[in-house]
């Protein structure tokens, strides 16, 4: 979510302003972005690495997908207290978090290694890469523009 205030060009009237106020400096950017805390991201990153190893699954070839999901889990951990699956739409998020079916690792993952978030991919999956690790720097870089 990004809010931006941008001044339109007025042409002649600008020349009457003091010199520091050029057209480019009249741009005010207010960025209101919902971001999970660094602590939660780190917790979910470690969890993801550990669970991928434990379950014999791999991260996506596109680490951007992995990064977004890890941040989504961290975001839910911050807001709901539990890492609810970020790739679902819920009627009542707190109720779902309390119930637990969709808390990562969710029941479909635990029972059938099915992760539609593309976070934990079985080796035969087309999108599966070779990594079971991901660094905080990779996460930061891939999600810098969201």
């Amino acid at each position: 979510m990004t809010l931006q205030l941008q001044a339109p060009s007025f042409g002649a009237t600008i020349s009457s302003l003091p010199s520091p106020l050029t057209r480019s400096t009249l741009r005010f950017v207010i960025r209101a972005q919902v971001e999970p805390t660094e602590k939660s991201v780190e917790i979910m990153r470690k969890f993801s690495e550990q669970y991928a190893r434990k379950s014999g699954t791999y991260f996506c070839v596109d680490k951007g997908v992995t990064s977004v999901v890890i941040k989504g889990l961290a975001d839910h951990k911050d807001s709901l207290g539990a890492p609810l699956c970020p790739c679902r739409h819920y009627d009542d998020k707190p109720a779902e978090a309390g119930q637990g079916f969709w808390n990562c690792p969710c029941v479909p993952m635990r029972e059938r290694k099915e992760c539609h978030c593309m976070l934990f991919l079985t080796p035969e999956n087309d999108f599966a890469g070779q990594d079971q690790t991901i660094t905080l720097e990779e996460i930061r870089e891939s999600t810098a523009n969201i």
């Binding site: 977004v68 970020p86 790739c87 539609h116 976070l119």
Partner: protein, 171 residues
Amino acid sequence: MAVSVTASSIPSLCSDRTTRLASSSSNLSSSSSLQFPLHLRRLRIRTYGVSAPSRPRILPPVEAKKQTFSNFDDLLANSDRPVLVDFYATWCGPCQFMAPILNEVSITLNDKIQVVKIDTEKYPSIADKYGIQALPTFIIFKDGKPYDRFEGALNADQLIERIETALKVKQ
């Protein structure tokens, strides 16, 4: 849901956009003593009777970019082409993966289908109405009604194939 107006429905929308810029710049003008031409001030007063009580959020209409519509049903009803709707969430990995693919498909099949993305966290009522559960969910609407529906990420070729199959049965 916030109410805002589509570009095609009301001619004064252009003045709305100008109005929004004018009113936001008027904050600047108070600090930098800019004087606005009288016709801009007059526009601002005139559109107050037309727009919703809250400040209208109108973004310039650009192909395959963010727009705010007054009503999803209006969007479906007034569309001249079938509509592919992508229900997504900000922190859903596969949804973000699909973003550039949707852009590409939207350009490739520009005359055949209109691509719309709905943030299910901003518009939960629309997501509930169509029983969205897994994300991303894609629904192809024909004549304002859901025609085809599928979940999960897919690559550009698979998506184009799926869309064209759905469109082939068009009356």
